[in-house]
Symmetry: C4
Subunit: 223 residues, 4 copies
Amino acid sequence: MTTPDLTTLRRTVADLHAELVRYDLVVWTAGNVSGRVPGEDLFVIKPSGVSYDELTPENMVVCDLDGNLVEGEHSPSSDTAAHAYVYRNMPDVGGVVHTHSTYASAWAARGEAIPCVLTAMADEFGGEIPVGPFALIGDDSIGQGIVETLKGHRSKAVLMQNHGVFSIGKDAKAAVKAAVMCEDVARTVHVARQLGDPLPIAQDDIDRLYDRYQNVYGQRSPR
Amino acid sequence: MTTPDLTTLRRTVADLHAELVRYDLVVWTAGNVSGRVPGEDLFVIKPSGVSYDELTPENMVVCDLDGNLVEGEHSPSSDTAAHAYVYRNMPDVGGVVHTHSTYASAWAARGEAIPCVLTAMADEFGGEIPVGPFALIGDDSIGQGIVETLKGHRSKAVLMQNHGVFSIGKDAKAAVKAAVMCEDVARTVHVARQLGDPLPIAQDDIDRLYDRYQNVYGQRSPR
Amino acid sequence: MTTPDLTTLRRTVADLHAELVRYDLVVWTAGNVSGRVPGEDLFVIKPSGVSYDELTPENMVVCDLDGNLVEGEHSPSSDTAAHAYVYRNMPDVGGVVHTHSTYASAWAARGEAIPCVLTAMADEFGGEIPVGPFALIGDDSIGQGIVETLKGHRSKAVLMQNHGVFSIGKDAKAAVKAAVMCEDVARTVHVARQLGDPLPIAQDDIDRLYDRYQNVYGQRSPR
Amino acid sequence: MTTPDLTTLRRTVADLHAELVRYDLVVWTAGNVSGRVPGEDLFVIKPSGVSYDELTPENMVVCDLDGNLVEGEHSPSSDTAAHAYVYRNMPDVGGVVHTHSTYASAWAARGEAIPCVLTAMADEFGGEIPVGPFALIGDDSIGQGIVETLKGHRSKAVLMQNHGVFSIGKDAKAAVKAAVMCEDVARTVHVARQLGDPLPIAQDDIDRLYDRYQNVYGQRSPR
């Protein structure tokens, strides 16, 4: 790959962590963003245990798709194996995000999917946000749980039981958007449920909303 | 219209989005403000899919009252048709705001009006904040739901079922204020209800509060 | 009074509004701080309908103890009559604050006093935070409700039914502190109650905590 | 000790209070951080009643392990006796933090331990976060309650009944991290419990997570 591309991606991935902070999805060092290097079997990810204030393009690390460190002075995020497994097994995925955001993690602690009762949720996720299995860190269990849950599912986010959220996207920014929207709908549906049952949205309407949003929304020309 | 007026309105509408951010009414790009151009069948609205940090007077777009793009390099907000319908059918409305703010959207997800149990709510809304119908994006359904619910109602905000809030005002700033106050009372009444039943306010008292606030509050001279 | 004193008080009162913003006690223009002018039958208060960003020492207004405007280009806060009544009837009070802070207003909407189940609450308030009557704006009803509830009570804050909080202190800063602490304990006790019954604190222990805090805490020399 | 070391520690302790503010663990002046002076029977702690905006390396105070003021122009924090007791009785502790953070204090108000239902909680705390006794300020009761609860416990944080949180660590930064993580898991488990029962994590899995996190996580080389 050309050096300018990697420099840009390092900056993009470093900067996107600020969105996790801005939307209160993370505390201390507990969440991470990665982005696939276009045309290479590599991805850029947050270094482990480094605070969000200290992230720079330079201290991002580069790993291969087995999660091995290829470039960087720090250890990669402790969640690197899960990111790597997703990139190995979902070739269309260009970005992965992991957080312990409060409301999504609360649904995950109960092992309960978030029902699709908001039009914004139909737009972005096309239905419920599903729950993945309980899995320990240390091997490919988390990665497998993510991929088995999300393959063939419209949702770009999965609630890993008793753990937190993994989200995916065509690039790192899209995965961050999915993480932000996941927490937003997790919170709104939680608040709705506290005082009664939200009204369901018919599957047909969910389908129409999802189709329209994926195909029409936003600026048509690349920015 | 004179160019200075439109320049000012572009700036006002762009800047008012910062209030949606400040009061946590929006995430990512999911809310929008518009303002009617005085004396013209036009309004200024947020471009679609552009982040709040990037909004400037220059990238705001101008639409006619059928929602067609008249001026601007970006596509107008995907909610433009709803704004346009309101301007076409409510001639006194000079500003429209749309958000998915958490607590108001939670009431909307249950299809439940917010009861008027706070004096600040009587001041601003003159009674309950009503629920509008479930409506899909893509034609005039949302705009019709807003207008049918708010015409002849004191409330300047409507909870669109399973969706979010639309608020109106004599100008864009007043509509933003209504959106801010709607979320504030939605949250306070939600919190009150979590531990029991709020005490009702007598209709007579609601009427007195509303009348006084609409006629007396604030600086009398224009600012 | 000397001009330097009034200039200082104008600055103090203007600046203290930033604490209401910092601790999320207010939205838009819905809360206000006032401070008694030492040695004069006057107080400095926020102008009505002016946003917190625009407050300066110069646009604060000065009123007499009947709430009449004495100095200033703006109208005084619409809550001025309540502030004035407190100053007229509680000569030791040097500062008054009014907010619609979320959790305190939620207790107020249910007409329920906040029970003293936190040591920080025993420290600052010496027991429960009481509820005052429902009262309409426009005459001395609100002021009377505040004074009747707080006279002879240890609490420096009162939850006015269906309305919000008024707090008092020896000066404006102390009243702001009481408003901040009131919302903090209102929130914590609310959250505690959501999942069960908080444990009571024995009255003897409340008395000891209150006595110690009022007499020992903080820097002994004036700052 | 050398002057450079103490200067550094004063700055570290002063600066770490900004993390309490950033994560909304404190209001007004109600929380404090201390750090043990390496190789000396001394610790650096926040002055009493001074706002977080005004903290500087210079106005931090130094106390001996009986809590007596050794150096500084201000009185030490009113919680100094509890910090001192911990340093006297837990020689491996290099930092202590005290807050009244909302969700942790809510569990404390009910006298209820936070169950370990999140992998992040297993990582950091190795099990539940326990409750310590109700204790009055003024003697060693609070310190004794902290030490008796935490000695031999994996948790680095204790919920003091009807009061708030004390956390410990190998240094001041680690104690601050424990305070931040304690509030984070207190909030997430609270939210989870509002709508049902969180799923338990098997003790074996908790043990594996704790062991791995304590030994593997973060950068291996000192930073």
